[in-house]
């Protein structure tokens, strides 16, 4: 086993991993952070998406040892405990979530977009979320939610 040190949602951790352990396995199985999901385990569906040093990645195909010393943010960590991020509020109020399974990945992909592009067009939102699949909503209300959050964040 190898020792992996990483920061998750602001907290430092030290865990034992194997050569083929994925970041998703570290988060879910070792740290019991369950918002990133196992949807496909091949990097195709986006439900495992997390932010790695602020950049959107697929934790299911991220080799755990390759993130030595890095910082991971999951949905649980996008705000301070007790606070609600405008994206969370928007997805709730605009019905951007139905079954909820794609929602953590969707919100993180949306955050990754708004972090670099605070005024996206509808097409830019679609492009940014093109790696996150949803089988329930048909995407329209998800895009509405992101644009609503962008509006609120511009103040």
């Amino acid at each position: 086993m190898h020792t992996l040190e990483l920061t998750v949602n602001g907290q430092r951790h030290k865990v034992e991993v194997g050569l083929k352990t994925t970041l998703l396995e570290v988060l879910r199985d070792k740290l019991h952070i369950t918002s990133p999901k196992v949807g496909c385990n091949t990097g195709d569906c986006g439900t495992c998406s997390v932010l790695l040093d602020g950049v959107l990645v697929r934790s299911c195909i991220t080799n755990a040892l390759s993130v030595q010393g890095k910082s991971v943010t999951t949905l649980e960590g996008i705000t301070e405990p007790g606070d609600i991020h405008p994206l969370q509020k928007a997805f709730h109020e605009h019905y951007g979530s139905q079954c909820g399974f794609c929602t953590p990945g969707m919100i993180l992909a949306s955050k990754a977009l708004l972090d670099v592009n605070p005024s996206p067009t509808r097409d830019e939102v679609k492009e940014a979320l093109s790696g996150n699949l949803c089988r329930c909503t048909g995407y329209v209300k998800i895009i509405d939610s992101v644009l609503a959050a962008a509006d609120e964040m511009k103040g």
Partner: protein, 282 residues
């Protein structure tokens, strides 16, 4: 359960040395967007991993008028680079249609090329731009034109101890027009069914030094040299375009697979080459 070794190579030479040392049990790892998929599908179990993220193989720079791209540079970094936008916009256009944002944040240009898929999306633009690769081995290095790199589906000239360290894109003609189209079953996250890249320098309304490349229609990414040759010295008129498109399709040897039939790919190759050349003619 065997633990295996995880090395963080500090340079391409060190990585190559480790490959030589460990032989078939070792794999290099950058973004992992192909390797880890295979691991998760249990297609193979890594014994030794050589991580390239800290090996000084990332980044984009210039050498004279040529563009140098580190092989471990993530695709999105290449997409966002002003240097690439200026010197190789065709490459940026192709990358923008690859996979999805999260995959592009991790996947690298070196990984895409080394995997040697006949559908590799960075291959077709780089082929028409005349790119070459710096291959580093345990005991030396060599430069190989990309046109000589691929030898079969998933196969290349890489020796067991070699890695791609850098991609070099030579200076482009200021008068060159270019075009790219990817045909896939979806707009994003789609393996190419057919992809076409065209590079078309023009001088006094006549083509000189054109290149046409097609992906996913042959055992390797394909440079259709005969077809491109039919354009040289000519204006882009309807007859010239039709002849080149036909020749390009004839150069392909597609197969039936999960994404499309050989029948479709032959026809799509001709149609897309024709569409793109017609657009370039303006």
């Amino acid at each position: 359960m065997a633990e295996g070794e995880f090395y963080r190579a500090a340079s391409p030479r060190e990585a190559a040395g480790l490959l030589a040392q460990h032989g078939g049990a070792a794999r290099v790892l950058a973004g992992g967007t192909d390797l880890m998929v295979a691991v998760n599908k249990r297609k193979f179990k890594p014994q030794v991993l050589i991580y390239l993220g800290d090996a000084g193989m990332s980044g984009i720079s210039q050498e004279g008028e040529a563009l140098l791209i580190g092989a471990a540079t993530p695709l999105n970094e290449i997409l966002a680079s002003p240097l690439v936008a200026d010197k190789a916009p065709l490459l940026a256009t192709a990358i923008k249609q690859m996979a999805s944002p999260a995959i592009r944040n991790a996947g690298t240009i070196g990984g895409n090329l080394a995997n040697a898929s006949p559908a590799a999306d960075t291959a077709t633009p780089l082929l028409v731009l005349g790119a070459s690769l710096k291959l580093v081995g345990a005991n030396g290095e060599r430069e190989v034109p990309l046109a000589e790199f691929f030898t079969g589906p998933g196969q290349s000239v890489l020796a067991a101890d070699e890695i791609i360290a850098q991609v070099k894109v030579p200076a482009q003609s200021a008068e060159a027009k270019w075009a790219y189209r990817k045909v896939g079953k979806r707009k994003a996250q789609s393996l190419s069914v057919v992809s076409v890249a065209i590079y078309c320098p023009l001088s006094g309304g006549k083509v000189g030094g054109a290149a046409i490349a097609l992906g996913a229609v042959a055992p390797t990414p394909l440079l259709a040299t005969e077809a491109a040759g039919l354009l040289n010295g000519k204006a882009l008129d309807e007859a010239t375009i039709a002849a080149a498109a036909k020749a390009a399709a004839e150069a392909t040897s597609p197969i039936d697979d999960a994404r499309g039939t050989a029948w479709y790919r032959k026809r799509a190759s001709e149609a897309v080459v024709k569409q793109l050349l017609t657009e370039l003619a303006g």
